[in-house]
């Protein structure tokens, strides 16, 4: 049967889309893409990497049609560089921040963060220069007035996934991670967590852009990011819907 599938020409309307996606959104994106392919018959190739690396590749001619970044800064930089029309940029997901440990059964609150002062325990955050989640974590620490005292206990991951990895392996007892890394279907997968209120930090906007104003299948993919089925995936994976 697959021989027939190979020999037969593809349906006239099927198009190819190459989507570059920030690693932290790879899992949910695979589900979004599966639904998109089912609904439209288009074929999607997913490329994952860090937002900075994908951005640099795009600036140097990488053949991507759509970029799903982990922040809003790099998509804005592509607009500023004239590679993307301002109307072809939109927020596809809002990240939620969680204060997390792998130790189960703790009831964490903002007071647990204040209590970390003067203890030997390390606190993992994503690098605030690179990752919006890291920037948000610093804002939370500053709001609690403990950033300066906790500074020496901080260890930084290059991105929020690495912050999670430090806590998951026990090398740091606590960390600020993306809620999407520890929640599934609204329930905590392991350990204990405190969900930081959205109003405590700048919203972690994850923006997408359609590159080169490509129409057809790439534009369909870009538009699909706002579909109801995509919103359902976002909620299951612990993201806020824009």
């Amino acid at each position: 049967m697959w021989v027939a599938a190979v020999l037969l020409p593809p349906p006239a309307l099927a198009g190819q889309v190459t989507v570059a996606v920030a690693s932290n959104f790879m899992l949910p994106m695979q589900e979004v893409v599966a639904a998109f392919e089912r609904d439209t018959g288009h074929e999607v190739t997913l490329v994952s990497g860090s937002t900075g690396a994908l951005y640099a590749q795009i600036r140097n001619g990488a053949p991507f049609d759509v970029l799903l970044a982990a922040d809003a800064a790099r998509p804005q930089a592509l607009v500023d560089a004239g590679l993307v029309a301002a109307s072809d940029r939109k927020t596809y997901a809002i990240g939620k921040l969680a204060f997390w440990t792998r130790d189960a059964g703790l009831s964490l609150t903002d007071a647990s963060i204040i209590d970390l002062q003067g203890q030997s325990q390390r606190l993992a955050i994503a690098n605030p220069k690179l990752a919006p989640y890291g920037h948000a974590a610093v804002e939370v620490l500053e709001r609690l007035g403990v950033y300066d005292t906790l500074r020496r206990q901080l260890v930084m991951g290059q991105n929020v996934n690495q912050s999670y990895q430090f806590v998951r392996t026990g090398n740091a007892r606590f960390g600020f991670v993306a809620a999407s890394l520890v929640y599934r279907d609204g329930a905590l997968e392991r350990g204990s967590a405190w969900l930081v209120p959205d109003t405590w930090h700048t919203p972690v906007r994850q923006d997408a852009v359609l590159l080169r104003g490509a129409n057809g299948a790439p534009r369909a993919m870009f538009e699909y990011l706002g579909a109801a089925s995509t919103a359902a995936v976002l909620q299951r994976f612990g993201y806020g819907v824009p």
């Binding site: 260890v155 930084m156 392996t169 740091a172």
Partner: protein, 230 residues
């Protein structure tokens, strides 16, 4: 051009490479000696183990180090029990990682030098009444010095060029674990290409000079040996 954090990263990198090279020579010379002279059936497995960092991706080494040195790991459990805490995110942790990562670059040139020397000089020294330690320090080591110098330069340079392992277990703490290569990565990721250029060009210059010194040294030795023979 180079800011305070860049200089801190370069200084840290230099300290890390120096300490690592010293540790590597202390550990590497006995291993190289054993590998060069043993007839044990353990020779091949040990040689393979020493050479593995040449083949393994740094991400694999970094991943396992994070687990082994962490509180659940064998080494992490021991260091915690000894009251030292765990090694990731510390300078000592980077030294341990760098020693493992650069070991083959130090062991192999020294082992080759020991082999090239052969047994004759040692046997001559023995007939003249030199004890084993005397033979090693006054005959074997001086005769193998070019190999040792090559090993030291390669171990130092390879540690400077280390990235993946440090990225996995370092925690990117300025002045403690943020080495030059990790800082360049951070600058590129945050689109600070100008800063990345300054530090990158410094590293390009350093690596060229280090290797140039190595080849000039080898060339000089080769030429003088040739002149003596002539």
């Amino acid at each position: 051009m180079l800011g305070a954090n860049d200089l801190a990263a370069l200084w840290l990198t230099a300290r890390l490479a120096l300490v690592t090279t010293a540790c590597l020579l202390v550990i590497g010379i006995p291993i190289a000696w054993w590998l060069a002279h043993t007839g044990s059936r353990w020779r091949a497995p040990i040689a393979a183990l020493v050479a593995m960092p040449l083949v393994l991706p740094p991400t694999v080494i970094g991943f396992y180090l994070l687990l082994w040195l962490g509180p659940d790991g064998l080494v992490g459990g021991l260091t915690t029990a000894a009251g030292w805490g765990t090694l990731p995110f510390t300078f000592a942790g980077l030294v341990v990682a760098s020693v493992i990562y650069s070991l083959p670059f130090v062991v192999q040139p020294i082992e080759n030098a020991f082999r090239a020397m052969g047994r004759a000089p040692l046997e001559t020294a023995a007939t003249l009444g030199a004890g084993p330690w005397d033979r090693f320090f006054t005959v074997a080591l001086p005769l193998s010095m070019p190999g040792v110098v090559t090993a030291a330069v390669l171990g130092f340079a390879h540690t400077v060029g280390e990235f993946g392992v440090v990225l996995m277990i370092g925690g990117n703490i300025p002045g403690v674990t943020q080495v030059a290569s990790v800082r360049v990565y951070e600058q590129v990721e945050s689109l600070d290409y100008l800063g990345a250029h300054a530090l990158s060009l410094t590293l390009v210059g350093f690596s060229f000079l280090a290797l140039l010194a190595l080849y000039l040294l080898q060339g000089a030795r080769g030429a003088s040996a040739f002149a003596r023979e002539g």
